[in-house]
Structure formats: C-alpha cells, structure tokens
Symmetry: C2
Subunit: 406 residues, 2 copies
C-alpha cells in the first residue's frame, strides 16, 4: 500500500531523519509524498522535495518563495510560502503526517492534519503540552491516531501496545537528571547558559538542553504524558535514571512494569511512528547491557528542580495550565539565555505566571475538556508570554536594585 | 463468561497460588472448576475441591484414593486416583488449564488438555524443554494457546504482546547468576548441596535452587525460550542480572528492547496467564526503582557455568536434545544431592549423555519437528536417564579410584 505522507518541518533534525527513513524504505517508489515544509533552508527543502517527488514544498517565510521556486524549477514540485500555504498543505489528505515544526507555529498544521483521520506522528510538543485538550478531542473526533515521537512518550506508547488500557496503574517517565543532577542548589543558582546546555546523553539544540538542565523538559513531558495517555495527574511518576537507557515505563494493575530500552537515537521513535503497528529494521546501535554494566535510579529532587513541582501544579489545575507553563517557560528561557536572569529565576517566572493566571481564572480550569478549542490554547499561550515578560522584568529589576543597594 | 478451569498440580506452590487467585476472582461463582489434581496431600486437595466446587479431584497415588474419598464425602465432588484418572481428567473439556505437576509426570496431562483448544498455562517446564517439538506442534494443530508461567518466559510473552513476531531479533533471558555468581571455579568445585540451595532472590525448592546455582535452570530456560517463541538458537541470549528485577527482554529489528520488570513473586506470571489478554489487579509488591537504586548486568561465564554451553549445544543439535539434557541433568542432580558427585560433575554427566546419544543418533536431530511425538520425547528422556546413571557411576568410580590411589 502506497501511503500518502506529509512532513511538516522537514529540514529540522526530526524532519531530516524522517526523510532519510522514508528514502531508506523505498522513497517515492513506495510512498506518495504530498507536502514537505521547512523554514529558511529552501535549498535543502527543494532537494528533499525532488528526491521524494513531493506534490508541494512550502517554506514558512514568504520572502523565501522566489528562492524556493528557483530551486524547484523544472522538478514539477509546486512551491508555496507563508502561514496560509502551510495550512493549505495540512489540509491536503495524507495517511501519515509528521508534525515536527518547532514551537507554537507547529500547532495549527498538526491540528488541521488530524482531519484526515490518519496517523499524526507528533514531534511538536506544544500540540499536547499547550493544546492537549483541544488536540486530543479533535483526534478522537476524527479517529486520527497520534503517535508520539519523543523518546519517552514513544517508549510509553510501545509499552502500551497490546495492553488493556484500563489496567494502566502508572506511567513512569525516566529523566536523565541533566547536567546539574549532582550540583547543589547554590551552584545551580550560578549556572551559565553554556553549562546548562551541556546535556550528558542526547545531542540536542541549546533550548531543549537548558530545559533538560532545569528539568522543565521533564515537566513538559509529565503534562504530555497525562494528555496523551489519558491518565490522572497522580498516575504520572518521574524517576531519575542518569544513563537514559530505559526510555520510560508503564506499571499495570497486576504489578507488572513494561519498559522500553535502547540507545539514545531519535530514529527509534521516528521509525516506530513510521512503521507502526509494524516494526521495520533500523540501522541503530543495539543495546548491550553487559557493556553498560549498570543502570542507576534516584528520586527526583523538586527542591533543586522546582520545574517538577510546577508541573504537578499545572497538572492539578488542569484546563490550559500546560499552555501557560510552557509559554512562560519559553519567555523565562529567553531571559536566561540572554543572561538577564539567573537559572533559578526561570521557575520563579513560571510560578508567578501560573499563580496570576489562575487567580484571574484565565486557565479554563473549570471548562469541560471537550469545550477547549485550539484558539483558547493560543490565547493562553499569548497572555502567558505577556505576563512572563512582566514577571521576568520585575525579577530583573529586583535583582538590579539589590545589586545597586549592595 | 464462566470459564471452565482445570488445575493439574493444585497442591504445589504454583497450584496453591492459582487456587488463591481464582478464589480472589470470585471462585466458584465466576468459574466452573472441572478438575483439580494433587499428590499425597489429599486433605488439602479435598479442601480446594470443596471450596471451588470442582467436578472431580484426582490424586496421582492410587493408595491415597480412600483418604480422598473420605475427605470429599458429601461434597458432591467426584474422587479418582492414578495415571489413567489424571489423563481422563485432562480429557474433560476446559477453557483454561494450569499444568503445574512437577517433572515428566506433568507432560501427558498438559499435552492431552491441548486438545480442548483453550489456554494452557504452562508451569511444567518438561513439556517444552523435553517435548517442545511435540507439544508446540500439537498446540498449533489444536489452536490452543500456551501461556508460560515461569517469570522469564511470562516476561517474554508479555514483551511480545501487540508486537509483530517477524520483527523479533533476539530474546534476552536474564539470570540472577545464582549463589555462585562471584565464586571462582575452585570454590564451585567444592560446593555442597546446602550452599547450592541458597538462592539469592527467589524462595524455591531445593532442586530448582541447585539448578539455579549450576545455571542448568537457565540452560533449560534457553531451550524453553527457543521452543515457545519459535526463534533460532542464536536469537536466544543470556545476561546475568543479579537483582532479578528485569525478568527478561525482547529485542526488535528496530533496535527497541521491551522489558518486563517487577518484584520476584510468582503470582505475577500466574495472574497474567489467568487473566490474559487482560490484566487484573494483583496484591503484589510494586516496583520501586528508587529504593533499588541500581540494576547490574554481567556477561554469563560459560567456563564456570558449563550448563550454558551445553544448552547451546543442545539448541544447535535440535531434535530431542533438550529431553536428553533435561533428563541427564535430573539424574546428575540426584547424584550431587546424595553427595555421590561433586558440583561440576553434573555438567560432565550431561555432556557425556548428549555426546553419546548424538553419536548413537538417538536424539531425532534429523527428524522434521512435526514428526516428533510425545512418546519419542518420553523414550529419549528414559534412555538419557539410563545413560546418565551409567555416566555418573563411571565418574564416581574414577573419583574413588583416584582417591584410593592418592
């Protein structure tokens, strides 16, 4: 069966790996590639579109359209640009869609593609963290299948294969603990962006590496797990596992715990989503437990890593608290990377935003989940960013006053 | 749905736990108990049969029939005794049968019950180790489902739930390494039965504990895995994992490894077989990785534990080599427990028997698997025991001569 495939965010690292796996699995001979989308790297986007024989290639940037057109000249691949073109591409029927645009920009294309009722391979975290209630109810309505593409949630998804969902007792997310796992609070308070970006196990971008250091990445994943797997907040556990070999686990009512192990290679999760419910051979490293010799486990420390406590608060608030947490975290991260705020202030910003928006009843915590729309998530995201800037500036002002008074 | 249930070996530890789980799951209100069988403990057998409202209770020992009859007087439960009665009980239609009679005696009742095309919960290792080709082809013919009840194979079975069988790359059996894991060869050579029976993680009978010390238990499990999961011998791996928390694993073609973790409690595997494909709540301890802190892994040492090497030989021979290995091991174990032979001589006996029977072409290694009958397995078992006694006596003679000459 030739599947119709679209890839949103084809030139990023998830997208590139997806394209490579599709090429390895027969490419255009075996797949009907509908749309490929990317950003400023139109040369690469055009190259991918030619190789896979895509119907259309879309760049998010309107000013890049002439370059994309040039690069596609004579290929028969349609070229388009801008937000409207992205959404139009998402509306083109596909059986399998990769949603790998980073950030809030990835939300709408992924959401729209659910209408086809196929598989949505989800690498865009915001779709679930910020807009979980809207996205999950749309998926249910359209009978679309969301297959997560980050390693933890892919692991959980795999642990649930063939299992009775009613018997799920708990989801156990593993966390590497990041580069500050063994640092004391005073040292963490002085951490620089460069120190925070040095992740022990995965090679990732700067932002997600810092999120790993603050454990905000795990906080987002807790919210993601609760949304994707329809469990209650207290069914989501976190255990620190520095080697990141166990990618996550599911505990069942009979005491059995199923775990997914493997090397740290994103092709595992992408390949799983691509081949589900089958598994196809992947040229990834094989697990060698003897070479590893040991796996370690520790309790997470919510004192040094308040992000985990804030995730619990967001989970117990419900509604769109995840959207607020995520957006406030993004702003706080900007301020930390720009050296406007110290490392622990990121959590303080998020906490202030959650408190304020909850006090103002702006998180839709009392709305039925099915009544929450994508637009609501985008509004909460927007408002949380405004509040977060304010909170960050206030914290920065306090620090500068303190410094002046000192 | 009221399922018809029979339990062979109801008064042993697996049987008792099965009875307890069925009682906990509504007992006779929810299940139609057909047959319960036991050995000399007819008082307990009668008690179980009354509690579960069994149709018939069978003791393996004809001389125990009057006592069983007395104990069942007025209960409406039929009483019977002896091998023919056991087989007649196995022929009574049941949807779910527990085969938990220990040793070769458990083979025939389990095999006969496959004819009902239901679930055979298999605790009797011999059924697969000694008679795998016959039992597995009978199960396929009758569309019966075999669900293994030892922790490793139940773990593997659970790892395979919902997975494409063609994508299985390897089965990774975990081994505690037993009480001699850290002993050197010289010390193992002097090991006493009491030392060998001290298993670190599981409370088991003396025989299986010694098998764990020699790693003959793992050798049997390698053969069992190869038979149950229809993989090639080189797809069966063993890794030493002293904490026995990971019960076993399956590696797939995409590099993913699914693992089953849990406390060492046989109710897990029994409950799984009872409730499959569902899972029902079990009052077993929950896994706490933080409390465990670490899991260790080592390569198995075939020099100190030649049983693992012999299992590979039996696997590569195929046919009924498993029957010969198992039977020879039983005899060798008797000699070790009686202090007639030192610990390492057990492997020597098994090796001698395998070599001799293979040289005599007595292992049906060239027969098609489907042509191997239960009777063939029983003949090989019988012959291997005779050869093993001879090999053991010869080794003992050599030792005594050496001692006299010294």
């Amino acid at each position: 069966m030739r599947r119709r495939i679209s890839i949103f965010g084809a030139t990023g690292s998830v997208g590139e790996n997806t394209v490579a796996l599709i090429e390895g699995a027969g490419g255009r001979e075996m797949h009907e590639v509908v749309a490929l989308t990317g950003g400023r790297n139109v040369a690469r986007l055009a190259e991918q579109a030619r190789a896979l024989g895509a119907q259309i290639a879309v760049t998010a940037h309107e000013d890049a359209l002439p370059d994309l057109r040039d690069a596609l000249a004579g290929s028969g691949v349609e070229a388009a640009a801008g937000t409207a073109a992205l959404l139009e591409a998402a509306d083109r029927p596909a059986d399998w869609t990769m949603s790998a645009i980073v950030g809030a920009a990835g939300l709408a294309p992924g959401y729209r593609s659910l209408a086809h009722g196929g598989v949505l391979a989800l690498a865009n975290k915001e779709s679930v963290v910020a807009a979980g209630p809207a996205v999950l109810s749309e998926a249910a309505r359209r009978k679309a299948r969301i297959i997560p593409v980050d390693s933890e949630h892919s692991a959980i998804f795999q642990c649930l294969a063939g299992e009775p969902r009613a018997a799920v007792e708990r989801i156990i997310l593993t966390a590497s603990g990041g580069p500050f796992r063994t640092w004391d609070a005073a040292r963490i308070a002085r951490a620089t962006p460069a120190e925070a970006a040095a992740h022990p196990n995965w090679e990732m971008g700067q932002r997600i590496s810092v999120d790993s250091a603050s454990m905000f990445n795990k906080a987002l994943e807790m919210i993601e797990a609760r949304e994707l797997f329809d469990v209650s907040p207290d069914q989501v556990e976190v255990v620190v596992h520095p080697q990141s070999i166990i990618h996550s686990m599911v505990g069942f009512a009979d005491g059995a715990v199923m775990a997914h192990l493997g090397p740290s290679d994103m092709r595992g999760a992408i390949g799983y989503a691509l081949n589900w419910p089958d598994r196809a051979p992947l040229p990834v490293e094989r697990l060698d437990l003897v070479a590893l010799a040991r796996l370690d486990f520790e309790a997470p420390d919510t004192h040094r890593f308040p992000a985990l406590r804030l995730a619990r608060e967001a989970l117990s608030l419900g509604g769109l608290a995840g959207a607020a947490l995520n957006a406030a975290k993004e702003v706080a991260l900007d301020h930390f990377l720009a050296r406007h705020l110290p490392f622990p202030a990121m959590a303080a910003v998020v906490e202030a935003v959650l408190e304020r928006m909850n006090a103002e009843d702006a998180l839709m915590t009392r709305s039925p989940r099915a009544a929450i729309r994508l637009e609501d998530a985008l509004s909460v995201d927007h408002l949380a960013r405004i509040h977060a800037v304010e909170a960050a500036n206030k914290l920065q002002g306090t620090r500068m006053n303190r410094a002046e008074n000192a």
